[in-house]
Amino acid sequence: MTLLSEPKQEKAVGVKRRGRSFKPRYPTWLALPALVYEVIFFLGALGILVAFSFATQTGFSQITYGFSLDQYKAVFDPLYLSIFFRTLMMAAIGTILTVMVGYPVAYWMARYLSTYKLLAVLLIMVPFWTSFLIRTYALKIILDSQGFLAKTFGLDIMYTPIAVGIGLVYNYLPLFVLPVFGSLERMDWTLIEAATDLTARPLRAFWDITFRLTLPGIVTGALLVFIPMTGEYVIPAILSGGKYEFVGNLIGDTFNTAQNPPFGSALAIMLMVALSVFVVIYIAVATKEERFGA
C-alpha cells in the first residue's frame, strides 16, 4: 500500500506551530529571473499583439497603428462566433473523452501498481517522444476508410468529428493522466479502507472519498487538456480532411493567408478572453489544491 501522509502530518504540525516566529523562507528575488524573462519575452510579444489588434491594415505586411475597435467588431460576425462556439464544444467533448479514458488508467496506476508505477508513467510518456505528426499519420492509417478498423468492424469514421475527437484524446491523454495520477498518488488510501471497513460499498466509497479528494486534480488535468485543444490546428486539419474549422486554423489563416495581423490578433485576444473564464476556475482550483495538499 502506498501512501504519502506528509500533507496530513504537515497540517497537524502547522497547527501546533502557530504562534512561533520562525518559518523557512526563500528570498523573493529568486523569482526575479523567471519574472523578468516572462515579462520580456512573453508580455513583450503579447504587447505587439495588443497593439496590432487596435491597428488597421493598409497594405500587405503594412499596418497603421491607432486605436480602432473595428477588428473586435468584426469578430462578432456570426461566422466567426459559430467557429468559436464549435471549437469550444469540440474541445469540451475531447476533454470529457480524455477524462473518461484517462481517469481509470490513472486510478489503476495509483491504486493497484507498486513496483511498476514508474514504468507505467514512462509508458504513458513514451508516445510523446515520437513526433505528433508521425503519430497522427499513423492514426490516419488505422482509421482509414479502407483500413483495418473499417474493414474488420465496419467503423468508417475517417474525416468525421469522431476521428478528430480520437486524435485529440490520443495526443492529449498523457497530459491528463499524469497530473491526475499525481493527485491520486498523494491521496490517503487508508480512508478508503476505513470506509469499506465501515461497510460502505466500494462505489460509494469511491464517489464520496476518492473522487472528491481528487476533483481538484481532475479539474486541473482537464483544463490543461482543454485549453491547448482550443488552439489546436494541425490535428483537426489532418484528421478532418481539412473541413473542420477550429479557431486555431482560423487564426493561422488570418495571420498567414489573409496576411491580416490586426484581425488575427483580435481573434487571438478574443479567444484568450473566452478562455480566461476557465483560467479563473483553474487558478481557484489550483490554489485550493495547494492549500489542502491533495
Partner: protein
C-alpha cells in the same frame, strides 16, 4: 503605446524605407569587406544613410568604412559583376524540390569550389509561411522559391533584388516567352524554376460522366460523393479563384458581385466535398479518392501509380483553369547574392534542367533540356501540357489585401459550413 504618432510605431517597418536600408546594409558590408551584423553595419553606415536619403545625385557616395570600393552604383545588381562567389549559400525552399546531385555538382563548379561555398537549406510548406518570414524583416536567406502570387507581392513590397543579368548568361537557354511574365513584367526579379497547371482526375469505374471543364468537375461532386471520397485543393488562394474560373469569371477579380456569386456557387456544392487537402497524392495512389483536383505533376504520379488498375482518368480542363509557377528569387537582404546568382545560372544549364525535371516531374521551359527527356515524359500531356490548354489558363495573384481577405472569408465559411 498608442499615444505616439502612428508612423513611429510601424513595427512591420516603413515599407518604402526598407529596401533602401537593406541595400545600404549590403553596400556597407561589402565596403567593409566582411560580414557584420546588421546593427553594426547600420551604425557604421549612418553617414551613408544620410547621403542616400538626401542626395539623389548618385555620384560616388562612398560609404564610410575605409575600404574604397569605388562608387556605389544606384542599382544593386550591376555592382555584383566581378565579385567573387561567397563561401555560403542559404536556400529557403519547398521540401524535396531539387535533385540531390544538383547540390553536389554545384559544389564542384569552378568558382564555387574555389570559394568553398557551403550550401544550406531550410524548408517551408506554403507561400504564406514564406511571406510571413520575409514580412517580419528578419530574413537572411539568399535564395527563395516563391510561387507567382508571392513573387508579385514581394516585388510590390520592394523585397526582391533586381537580378544581375550578366551573372545569368544561361538565361539564353530559357524559352523567350518565359523571360517576362504577368507577375514580373520586367523579368528583373525572378527566374522561373518550373511550372504546372491545376487539373482534375476521377475514378472511371465509378464516375461515368464525361467531365471536361472545371465547372463539370464541381457539378459532379454532389452527385458522386456518396460513392467515395472527393477532394478539393486547400487554401483560400486555390479554392476561390478556381471557383471563379469554373464560373467563367476572372480569378483575380476585385468585384463584390463576383465574390457573392462564387460564394453561393461554392456553398451549393459544399455537401459534395469529403476533404479539402493538398496532401492527396498518397491517398489517390492508394485508390481512396474517386474525384479530385490536383496539380499535373501529382496527377501524373497518380495515373502511373494506378496503371495496373487503369481506373484513373486525368482531365486537363478545357476553358479556364490555373497555371502556376515557382520561381527563383533573391531577397534584397541576401547576404550572399553572387552565390545565389551562380546557383540560378547553374539551374538554367540544360543538363541540370534534365536531371531536375526527372526528379520533380514538372517542366522547366528550356527547349534544349525538354528535347533530351525520355519520350514517355516529353510526349506526356500531363507533363508537357500543350499550349492549346495553357493559353486559356490564368495565374492566380494576391491582387490586394482586400481581395485576399474576401477570399479567406469565403474559404473559412466554406470550410466551416
Amino acid at each position: 503605446m498608442n499615444s505616439q504618432s502612428p508612423d513611429d510605431l510601424n513595427i512591420l517597418a516603413p515599407i518604402e524605407m526598407k529596401p533602401k536600408m537593406d541595400y545600404l546594409h549590403r553596400e556597407v558590408q561589402r565596403a567593409a569587406g566582411s560580414a557584420m551584423s546588421r546593427r553594426k553595419a547600420l551604425s557604421l553606415g549612418g553617414l551613408a544613410l544620410f547621403a542616400a536619403a538626401c542626395g539623389s545625385t548618385s555620384t560616388s557616395t562612398t560609404p564610410t568604412g575605409g575600404a574604397s570600393s569605388g562608387p556605389a552604383s544606384a542599382s544593386p545588381s550591376s555592382s555584383l559583376a566581378g565579385k567573387p562567389v561567397e563561401n555560403m549559400l542559404e536556400i529557403f525552399n519547398w521540401s524535396e524540390y531539387d535533385d540531390p546531385s544538383t547540390y553536389k555538382l554545384f559544389a564542384e563548379l569552378g568558382p564555387v569550389a574555389a570559394a568553398g561555398t557551403k550550401t544550406h537549406e531550410t524548408y517551408y510548406s506554403s507561400n504564406d509561411e514564406l511571406l510571413a518570414k520575409l514580412n517580419s524583416g528578419g530574413s537572411t536567406y539568399d535564395l527563395i522559391v516563391p510561387s507567382q502570387n508571392a513573387v508579385a507581392q514581394l516585388i510590390q513590397e520592394g523585397k526582391l533584388m533586381a537580378l544581375d543579368q550578366t551573372l545569368l548568361p544561361n538565361l539564353k537557354y530559357l524559352e523567350p516567352s518565359f523571360l517576362k511574365s504577368s507577375y514580373d513584367p520586367t523579368g528583373e526579379f525572378s527566374v522561373i524554376k518550373d511550372f504546372g497547371v491545376t487539373m482534375f482526375y476521377f475514378n472511371n469505374k465509378i464516375v461515368t460522366d464525361d467531365l471536361k471543364t472545371m465547372h463539370d468537375f464541381y457539378m459532379a461532386l454532389p452527385k458522386y460523393v456518396s460513392k467515395g471520397r472527393t477532394n478539393l485543393l486547400d487554401g483560400a488562394e486555390e479554392l476561390v479563384p478556381l471557383g471563379l474560373m469554373a464560373l467563367g469569371l476572372d480569378p483575380n477579380t476585385t468585384s463584390q458581385a463576383d465574390f457573392d456569386q462564387v460564394r453561393t456557387f461554392l456553398l451549393s456544392i459544399r455537401s459534395g466535398v469529403t476533404t479539402i487537402s493538398a496532401d492527396y497524392i498518397q491517398d489517390a495512389i492508394a485508390g481512396k479518392i474517386i474525384l479530385g483536383q490536383g496539380w499535373n505533376g501529382d496527377v501524373r504520379r497518380i495515373v502511373q501509380g494506378r496503371k495496373a488498375q487503369g481506373d484513373i482518368t486525368a482531365v486537363l480542363p478545357t476553358g479556364s483553369s490555373e497555371v502556376w509557377s515557382d520561381n527563383w528569387c533573391i531577397p534584397l537582404t541576401a547576404p550572399h547574392p553572387v552565390a545565389a546568382h551562380t546557383w540560378i545560372n547553374w539551374l538554367l544549364t540544360p543538363t541540370t534542367a534534365v536531371t531536375e525535371m526527372e526528379y520533380h516531374s514538372y517542366p522547366i521551359p528550356i527547349p534544349d533540356a525538354l528535347s533530351q527527356l525520355p519520350a514517355d515524359m516529353k510526349n506526356d500531356q500531363l507533363f508537357n501540357v500543350p499550349t492549346s490548354y495553357t493559353d486559356g489558363y490564368h495565374y492566380i495573384l494576391n491582387v490586394s489585401p482586400q481581395v485576399v481577405q474576401q477570399r479567406t472569408k469565403i474559404y473559412t465559411e466554406f470550410k466551416a459550413s
